[in-house]
């Protein structure tokens, strides 16, 4: 998982290049880590070279995120919803990563094409964007 370090470094570079605030960098790190670890742990991408592609684009209303992986077909709607109100002994953490992604981004879109999962989404940088 040393690719995580690379991913974080690239996000940092992107954010400095586009003068993005610290909270934006935090959220991009979080979204990409959750999607990446999902693809590696559950999608069968572990140890497969070139199995994940990430693209970030700074737009006026936010950062457009594209995450693609060659793992098993995985629609984010398939992720189990975490029970946020469960007591500690019953609390499962499955689905928490995707839940966090959904809290942070807008316009989450999934498609499966030519053996790739492709997710696109927007992390708004304008706080007036309606939820």
């Amino acid at each position: 998982m040393s690719e995580l370090v690379t991913l974080t470094a690239e996000v940092g570079r992107f954010c400095r290049e586009h003068a993005l605030a610290e909270d934006v960098e935090f959220d991009l790190d979080l979204v990409l880590e959750e999607l990446f670890t999902n693809a590696v742990r559950h999608g069968g991408c572990d140890g497969v070279s070139g199995a994940v592609r990430v693209a970030l684009r700074a737009r006026p209303g936010g950062v457009f995120i594209e995450f693609a992986d060659r793992g098993e077909p995985f629609h984010p709607d398939q992720a189990p919803a975490p029970d946020l109100n469960a007591p500690l002994e019953e609390r499962r953490v499955g689905g928490l990563g995707i839940h966090l992604v959904r809290q942070i981004v807008r316009n989450l879109h999934y498609e499966r094409a030519a053996g790739w999962n492709r997710l696109t989404m927007l992390r708004p940088t304008n706080t007036e964007v309606p939820k």
């Binding site: 610290e22 670890t37 975490p82 002994e89 966090l100």
Partner: protein, 105 residues
């Protein structure tokens, strides 16, 4: 990557955690907290210097909290920075972890 250092304050074993509690650091975080919980009745994880946490870091905390429950130790998390608190809120952790009250940090 996380760094941890421990001290005893007001009857609490305080584990100061700094750095990034991500998927790479989660196992290390869980081990440090579990070791502290095995050896102490009151353990607090201080996150004042924690820059980042993901669901992997949250999972480590929940595992530690369960270990504390099993042993009958008190386990608390305190000193949350604003961005880390946001992840806690989004994760619903206020229901399962003692993150308020009279704590050593």
């Amino acid at each position: 990557m996380i760094q941890t250092e421990e001290e005893t304050r007001d009857g609490w074993r305080v584990v100061n955690v700094s750095g990034r509690a991500d998927a790479e650091a989660a196992d290390a975080l869980e081990s440090v907290l579990r070791a502290a919980i095995e050896a102490n009745d009151k353990v607090a994880a201080s996150f004042a210097s924690l820059d980042y946490i993901s669901s992997a870091g949250i999972r480590a905390l929940l595992q530690a909290a369960r270990a504390a429950q099993t042993r009958g130790s008190e386990f608390a998390v305190c000193g949350l920075s604003e961005p880390v608190r946001r992840v806690f809120d989004m994760s619903g952790l206020q229901h399962v972890l003692n993150i308020h009250g009279v704590l050593p940090c």
